[in-house]
């Protein structure tokens, strides 16, 4: 008989090992999935995990990895703060869209002025846009006790509609022959987030690194980070320790909203280039996987974001080269989170094999 037994102290080694085990199991199960689809599983796994980094055309794919990873890191770092405190912001996608809209709107409003001030102003507007969108579930939660999971998630769809309306209305390119979508920021150097497009470097990466370092110090060295962890572990003990739950909710949802907004702003003014109907690409949701895959730890999130970026880029590659359906890649990403959460049990429990009928 197999039984689970609670460990006296959570296993630190397993907590670090489970993401790796989860990745390994995902590769095996993914391989099986691909072979059922009639593809060579080894080739598929190699195409997804090996070719973009070390394959023949890696010089082309490596910058793409950074471009995909940057927004994931920014958003996931913000989410991890809330998740640690038991505050579940599921609507980062909406905050990401709002950041992009607000930031882009500032840039587009002054087009074609060329001054160094424009981009910093856009950054502030982007952060504020995401922050404001995050504050809606926060204020409703602290004032009326609503569930932030539902409210933040619903606001994603509101943001989606706003995005469509903006691309077709207010922010539409007046010289765009009536096509939906705003002016393209690639034609507007003062409001462009690229540092070096060929290397895949934009300001989002710089901010992502700053966010990782900031979050690391916050969580490990600062009393606010301790209070965040304490609230997640034992809310009553947190109250006893003098933590103000209202302020914590506002801080966590506000910060994660602002970071998601920044991610949106850097994306719209760089890789995406314009506000358009199809701008939202699911980074806000994928970042949830990244946050958990990275153990809600800043450095872990950095690595997890690179891994998820790899499945995106490698998945595209597999789609193109091997004809894998795009849904297969999404299943693959979903499996990763699934196995990770399942294996999480092992950090707190150990599996014991008991002889049946032992009296």
């Amino acid at each position: 008989m197999i039984a689970l037994e609670k460990r006296p102290t959570p296993s630190r080694a397993l907590s670090l090992a489970t993401p790796l085990i989860a990745v390994a199991i995902t590769m095996i199960m993914g391989g099986l999935l691909f072979s059922v689809l009639g593809k060579n599983p080894f080739e598929a796994i190699r195409t997804i995990f090996w070719d973009p980094v070390l394959g023949e055309f890696a010089f082309y794919y490596r910058p793409q990895l950074l471009v995909k990873a940057a927004p994931l890191v920014l958003i996931a770092i913000g989410l991890s703060l809330g998740f640690k405190a038991g505050i579940w912001n599921i609507g980062a996608e909406g905050q990401y869209i709002m950041g992009a809209i607000c930031g882009a709107a500032v840039g587009l409003a002054v087009y074609p002025t060329e001054t160094r001030l424009i981009f910093p102003l856009m950054i502030v507007a982007g952060a504020l846009g995401g922050w404001a969108w995050g504050m809606i579930p926060a204020l409703l939660k602290v004032r009326f006790g609503t569930n932030e999971i539902l409210v933040s998630l619903m606001l994603v769809y509101v943001a989606d509609q706003l995005l469509a309306s903006m691309s077709l209305g207010l922010l539409r390119n007046p010289e765009g022959m009536g096509f939906p979508g705003s002016r393209n920021f690639s034609d507007y150097p003062a409001a462009n987030s690229w540092i070096n497009e060929a290397a895949g470097l934009h300001w989002g990466m710089a901010f992502a690194f700053i966010a990782v370092i900031f979050s690391y110090f916050l969580l490990n060295r600062h009393i606010l980070g301790f209070n965040i962890r304490l609230t997640g572990e034992a809310p009553r003990a947190a109250r006893f320790a003098g933590v103000n739950p209202t302020r914590l909710v506002l801080f966590c949802l506000g910060t994660s909203g602002a970071l998601a907004g920044l991610a949106g702003l850097f994306e719209v003014s760089g890789p995406s280039g314009q506000v358009n109907i199809d701008f939202a690409s699911g980074y806000g949701f994928t970042a949830i996987i990244v946050a958990f895959l990275g153990r809600l730890h800043p450095v872990g999130i950095l690595l997890a974001a690179l891994l998820m970026a790899l499945t995106y880029v490698g998945g595209d590659l597999a789609q193109g080269n091997l004809g894998l359906p795009s849904a297969a890649i999404q299943v693959f990403q979903g499996m990763l989170l699934f196995f990770l959460l399942a294996l999480d049990l092992l950090t707190n429990y150990r599996v014991v094999f008991k002889k049946k009928g032992a009296a």
């Binding site: 304490l230 006893f240 103000n244």
Partner: protein, 515 residues
């Protein structure tokens, strides 16, 4: 001697790293109240769980009325006639008494019949209870009655009671004992688990004493002194705390007109509470669980804020200050619930030291945590209060109850409080650790602190407090000097018998039996 009702031979049960029961043997006769005596962690609970079919023994046998007895599950044990009243009630707050009773039955009868049966049993045994009341509105004593009645409806041959008096006033204890004696007279045996020696001496015919999982002796309680039993239980001579009465100083803590609504549906409202505590004084606050103890602690610690001027410390109004602002002024507290309230279960002892120590120990500067200083503070607590742990990195939940309690109390005592409020400082703690904790509170008072000890352990309160008051349904009794207070007076301060009455049907028979 006739065949015993239940005979236990060589029962052994090991858990990883612990031998819970080691070759335990004893007999429970028919018509006997048998005490199972031992400290927390001595293996009493594991033993009765084996009898009740919740846990399977690794080795050893049980015989029930001469037949082999090995219940695979509680249902089988109940079918044989074993019933158990647990220390922690398994009742649903939102359901009525009758619904709760029905949930525990295999084939519950129609609600109306059940209600009638509940009424009949409750009248017969002097346990008045309205089957239609919602359990959430009942006092702890009344909830216990629900559990007892639930058991009595099964017509048990053996009733197991796990620490039943911890939630009762002395008067309620008397009435419970009369009920148990009546059950015994009618042919039900009782296995009575406790560590309260005087109770066992009054009630029980036989006692089996467990220490560290082993049967270390049997005795007839009425013929053995409480001290001898205690020493068998602890395996050592007992150190009782020494109290040197000092002249009390100025009033430090002044509570007047404290009124507080509870934060949850089934909490207790504090109603117009007044008391003062002087420097160097220990105020003991007794009362049955659930009469406002948690709320009083929350109001004093700053977790709940109250009307201006209802709590003053050294003349300064603190009623609106949060926990940390009060800590700055030297008002510290240790809540009852160790895991999840006083300490975070999954955080290390170092992190738990930071939890309340950050302010007074100066463990942060500009919000940044000084971890080496925090580690030193945790190590100091571990050393000074003899906390048995492999190190300061261990999660709080890995410690035994007694060790974690020493850590929690030590954490506050070492921060040199001016006012210290503790709730149930020695609940679930072994005798040696309890004595050490009480001594540390007494020493702290001798150093000039004003201390409030909220506890349900009356012996403890009588041992350490200078003055005594009791909480009853959110109201505070008059505060009286502890010296010379009789157990009857204390019982009345605690609210008397809470509407209990003595078992009355068949009184003549009982008198006939005892005559």
């Amino acid at each position: 001697m006739s065949t015993p009702l239940l005979s236990i031979k060589g029962l052994t049960k090991t858990y990883p790293g612990v031998v819970a029961n080691d070759d335990v043997s004893f007999d429970i006769g028919t018509n006997e109240v048998h005490a199972l005596l031992g400290e927390n962690g001595a293996g009493k609970s594991t033993l009765v769980k084996m009898i009740y079919g919740l846990v399977k023994p690794d080795s050893g046998t049980m015989t029930w009325n001469g037949q082999h007895f090995a219940p695979a599950e509680p249902k089988a044990a109940r079918a044989s006639g074993v019933a158990m009243v647990f220390q922690h009630f398994s009742l649903f707050d939102a359901l009525s008494v009758a619904e709760n009773v029905a949930l525990g039955m295999e084939n519950p009868p129609a609600m109306r019949d059940l209600a009638r049966r509940i009424r009949r049993v409750s009248e017969t045994y002097g346990l008045p209870l309205d089957p239609n009341r919602t359990v959430g509105d009942l006092s702890a004593g009344e909830r216990q009655r629900v559990e007892i009645i639930r058991c009595l409806l099964q017509d048990p041959k053996l009733l197991i009671m796990d620490e039943p008096t911890s939630v009762l006033t002395p008067q309620e204890v008397d009435i419970l004992f009369q009920t148990l004696n009546k059950l015994k007279a009618e042919g039900t045996s009782i296995l009575y688990i406790s560590h309260k020696l005087e109770e066992i001496r009054t009630l029980c015919d036989h006692a089996t004493i467990l220490r560290l999982g082993k049967n270390v002796g049997e005795c007839v309680p009425a013929q053995t002194s409480a001290r001898d039993m205690a020493e068998m239980m602890v395996g050592d001579t007992l150190q009782t705390p020494t109290r040197t009465t000092e002249k009390a100083g100025e009033v430090v803590l002044d509570v007047s007109g404290l009124t507080l609504e509870p934060t949850n549906d089934y909490g207790t409202t504090l109603k117009n509470i007044h008391f003062t505590v002087r420097a160097g004084e220990i105020l003991g606050i007794g009362g049955v669980a659930g009469n406002g103890q948690d709320e009083l602690l929350a109001a004093l610690s700053g977790e709940s804020q109250t009307w201006p001027d209802s709590i003053k410390v050294n003349g300064q109004d603190v009623a609106n200050l949060g926990p940390n602002a009060r800590r700055e002024m030297g008002i510290l507290a240790a809540p009852e619930e160790r895991l999840g309230h006083a300490a975070a279960p999954d955080l290390s002892l170092t992190e738990n030291a930071l939890l309340t120590g950050a302010i007074r120990e100066g463990l942060t500067s500009n919000g940044f945590v000084n971890w080496s200083k925090t580690t030193d503070f945790a190590d100091t607590i571990i050393k000074e209060f003899d906390v048995r742990t492999p190190g300061n990195h261990v999660a709080a939940r890995a410690l035994s109850g007694g060790n974690l309690q020493k850590f929690v109390i030590g954490r506050e005592v070492l921060q040199r409080p001016e006012v210290l409020v503790v709730n149930q400082p020695t609940w679930g703690v072994d005798a040696a650790a309890a004595a050490a904790i009480r001594q540390s509170l007494i020493d702290l008072a001798a150093g000039g602190a004003a201390i409030v000890v909220i506890s349900q352990d009356l012996d403890e309160l009588m041992e350490i407090s200078d003055r005594f008051g009791a909480l009853n349904e959110g109201r505070m009794s008059d505060i009286r000097p502890a010296v010379g207070l009789s157990i009857d007076e204390i019982g009345l301060m605690m609210g008397g018998a809470h509407g209990m009455e003595v078992a009355h049907v068949g009184d003549e028979e009982q008198e006939g039996a005892s005559a």
